[in-house]
Symmetry: D3
Subunit: 233 residues, 6 copies
Amino acid sequence: MRNIVVTDPPRADAGDAEALGRFGVATVHEALGRVGYLGPELRPAWPGARIGGTAVTVLCWPGDNLMIHVAVEQCRPGDVLVVATNSPSTDGLFGELFATALAHRGVRGVVLGCGVRDVAELREMGFPAWSRAVSAQGSVKATAGAVNVPVVLGGQTISPGDVVVADDDGVLVVPRGDVPRALTASQARIEKEAASRAAFQEGQLGLDRYGLRDELPRFGLEYVSYQTWAGER
Amino acid sequence: MRNIVVTDPPRADAGDAEALGRFGVATVHEALGRVGYLGPELRPAWPGARIGGTAVTVLCWPGDNLMIHVAVEQCRPGDVLVVATNSPSTDGLFGELFATALAHRGVRGVVLGCGVRDVAELREMGFPAWSRAVSAQGSVKATAGAVNVPVVLGGQTISPGDVVVADDDGVLVVPRGDVPRALTASQARIEKEAASRAAFQEGQLGLDRYGLRDELPRFGLEYVSYQTWAGER
Amino acid sequence: MRNIVVTDPPRADAGDAEALGRFGVATVHEALGRVGYLGPELRPAWPGARIGGTAVTVLCWPGDNLMIHVAVEQCRPGDVLVVATNSPSTDGLFGELFATALAHRGVRGVVLGCGVRDVAELREMGFPAWSRAVSAQGSVKATAGAVNVPVVLGGQTISPGDVVVADDDGVLVVPRGDVPRALTASQARIEKEAASRAAFQEGQLGLDRYGLRDELPRFGLEYVSYQTWAGER
Amino acid sequence: MRNIVVTDPPRADAGDAEALGRFGVATVHEALGRVGYLGPELRPAWPGARIGGTAVTVLCWPGDNLMIHVAVEQCRPGDVLVVATNSPSTDGLFGELFATALAHRGVRGVVLGCGVRDVAELREMGFPAWSRAVSAQGSVKATAGAVNVPVVLGGQTISPGDVVVADDDGVLVVPRGDVPRALTASQARIEKEAASRAAFQEGQLGLDRYGLRDELPRFGLEYVSYQTWAGER
Amino acid sequence: MRNIVVTDPPRADAGDAEALGRFGVATVHEALGRVGYLGPELRPAWPGARIGGTAVTVLCWPGDNLMIHVAVEQCRPGDVLVVATNSPSTDGLFGELFATALAHRGVRGVVLGCGVRDVAELREMGFPAWSRAVSAQGSVKATAGAVNVPVVLGGQTISPGDVVVADDDGVLVVPRGDVPRALTASQARIEKEAASRAAFQEGQLGLDRYGLRDELPRFGLEYVSYQTWAGER
Amino acid sequence: MRNIVVTDPPRADAGDAEALGRFGVATVHEALGRVGYLGPELRPAWPGARIGGTAVTVLCWPGDNLMIHVAVEQCRPGDVLVVATNSPSTDGLFGELFATALAHRGVRGVVLGCGVRDVAELREMGFPAWSRAVSAQGSVKATAGAVNVPVVLGGQTISPGDVVVADDDGVLVVPRGDVPRALTASQARIEKEAASRAAFQEGQLGLDRYGLRDELPRFGLEYVSYQTWAGER
């Protein structure tokens, strides 16, 4: 592993990141063609937050948060801190003091492939965090890692400057180059969903709205009354 | 797997299902002799809901929600949608739009052996969901399955028309034929528990209330003072 | 396994236990040199509680809560009940009725290596519980175990009379003999953290506050501009 | 749970069960339309066994093997013992002495939803076992359960007398009524697979053999040379 | 955590340890009253080894094997190295070179709460290892820990000089003070098991041999013929 | 997800890949600076294989092996097939017939982020496979994916043409551009390890060989005799 801090990577536009955040994880994920989701293991430390920001990435040794200290200095308003460890660990590398420092710098939240602690304090501060675990286990500062290199988290590659969207459904990455397309496609999807929602509230069925009913025979689906079915058993 | 939709299965009485829902999962589980619980992996998407309803069952291919579209049409007021996948999957096959359609039809909630998404929206709508995971991962509609056949979820067999009870403790199935017994036994248990609660609030011990104290010698249990015990080590 | 109930073990001072509870899990864990944490698998049944108390320990057979009935009688005001099973189990050995009995005795909460049930009722009562699972699965009363012997939970040994601290970050044990040191060190840490918090709110960096900046060369860390880094790839 | 021993349930034909065993898990699973597999968590205690037999089912309390003692008496030549626990447990309810007793009765193997022990001895005896865990943890004999009632294991319902097939790929259940169809379909599949194997050994592609190549456009699949693809990035 | 190496702890007798090893994990576990088993997560790196030795304990930081280097020097013939990490980690802290050094010193094997690597080489050397994971992930040497202090592994406390028994069923600890009792009780159990084995080979049933048949009514167990049972459903 | 097959990606040299395979996973991982390991969850289907080859990558929908059929045609002698699914799945997408087709094309093995089946047959054929699970669960061919695009597996990005090394320790990726460095560094490491092995066989300690002894005071490590330590407790 090269022990390196990459400074001033280009970021996606902060306003665009915020706009994607407002759309939410599920919408942007679908809009981009069902890609970029970091999976069900990254959960919010407290419910109800929804953010979008630009990634500052950190790669830490397990049980060691030295590089988060290094990374704080690289953060700007509108960023989201993204912390990976280079092997599986649940230790709580991040807590309230880091959140205080990041909030001062205008950072919108943190995503951790390991653990988070001070959950009650983070909730009270309103500082959002997503992580694989909640753990009070403390860290040393003994081994270097890297800041602002591409990291893999939840099966996705996150490069510095990419947009990170996170809410109660988990975390999504939008590569910097895909942001314009994500904005347009999310807006289109939100409109389409609003129309579907209105239709469903009136009682229309997805089978009809999405043209699935005509395709059912192709799937070999039979409809059988309960009486017939029960009689055949 | 037979690709089949069984229509109009007989359901347990909707009022009975609602009554069992009011008793809650732990009470009905105990009342029936400690059976029917779907295990600790099915968790509520948001806390505080408590429901009882009649099962409409769905069997989906992993990553594919085609059959949920088919199942919506089979739902009636008082039903609970129960979704199994035929191999392990955490994908978010169900979200807010399905909830909108089901709410219109009077469905009381959903139980998923896979993932759920749009958690913030479901909480806001007050539509209850229990699932093995929260995941924004989207689905295709490419492979058929079945609706209203018996499915296995959390180690329990759920047949269409059975009663499903769910709350913060998880999910329980009551086979349709056991509903009358469940109602009677749950009512008896709730009364017994109320008496125990009152006794415990006054300071009575379970050892005495349940007649356990006299049985302790049979278990070979010794009482030793700390001093004696510490001296023996 | 010796089937034994040890009576009247010496406890840490109840006021000291309460004071450690107010410091919280992460603070006391760090103050003692990063020891005693029961790991990320023990989670609160409902968010927001923070307690400190003296341990009454119970060792149960999986699926059997007989010994909890025995243990209730051994509890005093200021205690925390700590329940281990002698092999892995998620069954819900503890619920609202036990909580009622313990609340009457002035017990501050429960920590379970297995499952808990009646979560909605516990939240309503304000009785705090930490456990490895939420499960409605009921228990028998058929096999003896032990009360007030040392148990292992979450990789930590807990002896009767030790202090247990628990909050949204999980659960911590402080051996009875370490309580005075824990109090002093926690007070010192809270003051140091308050100073750091104030400094971070003003914009100071951890790199500077903790003297890490001068040590970075020792770690072999290089700073490279994005342009240089991107050019090298 | 009703504490019951059902005696002399009808079994599938022992020769048919043995024949299905020779086909193996994957072949019979496919032949029946991809149903009946107990999932990846049930693993062989030692590699290389392949069996088919008729199920004698047991439902035990976790940590308690009383009912296995009861079940041994119900076993006949050609049977496979199938043990479920009524909540999750890894305890080693079964070992070499049970295997000795079952081998004497002509039983072909054991399938356990919990743990197995004496693995070295079972391997030496050549007695096959599949289980969710290997665990030396011992059991009590304190709580009743049931023998020869339908049990759920690995998401499948297994009734007494059903055929159980098991090998290095795991465990499969064939409901008694499906055995004739399973035999015919497995024989057909084995012949089809032999033809495919021969073709693949000669270099034919599955794309051509299964007629998939013509369907690829329907899936929207594009072929792009590396040069073009790399140029577009 | 106190960073300490405790030198020359008293060990259980090496011959006694070896004798317990020959009895094997399941036998000694039962003989001692079903205590001391480290659970199903510690698995052998290769099948077929069975050892008994005296523990030299190590506590490492996750991802850091510095203390194993320190511990090698503390090992003597007949020892077993026992490595715990102070938070969950799967990293491969131990491999072939350590095994070479330990084999030279007459050490009988290693037990790791984390990962092991060089599995093929260990199998070829015949050096036994039990671990929670196999992982090639390499380590740093940057943070101190402890040698020969009590550690917790798999829910058991292991003190230096205790006997560790390990085979294909996992790992067991016998506290130094319990070794004489373990030897006697294991010998008795092995004789009792030999008699039971012989009886089972002749067709006796456990129900009769262990006097369970007369107790069945107490458990409320009913015997029902299949015909009656099927008729009642 | 773009549904695309990238044809004829440049590969690392086949001889170099084979040479890296001979070094093995742990050696190459260390030689490159402890990077590229796919983690402890990818396990060999049978023990004893050790390979190196060039990656052909596949991205499949869960439960669907259509794209493996497409990928076979893209494979050449010296390749290793690498299969990822775009959400978590254990289904057995690969078995003996695919192995037959790949063996004909000179492919050296397969790495699967999901399940494998026909384990007995693969072992008999000597076709190596690494996977997250063994599962007989069968697949459909209903949804497209991609071939020869970068995939993420076990937290590592694998691009087509990269070298994949796999043995009993798991799986490692060496990016194509790093192959020359990997060869040189692995050769150097193997020589260094041979020297260390010889020294350890003679009884030298790692503490001395690696110059750690002089650094121990920096870590604050104390040596205390057992008597002193026991006296202080």
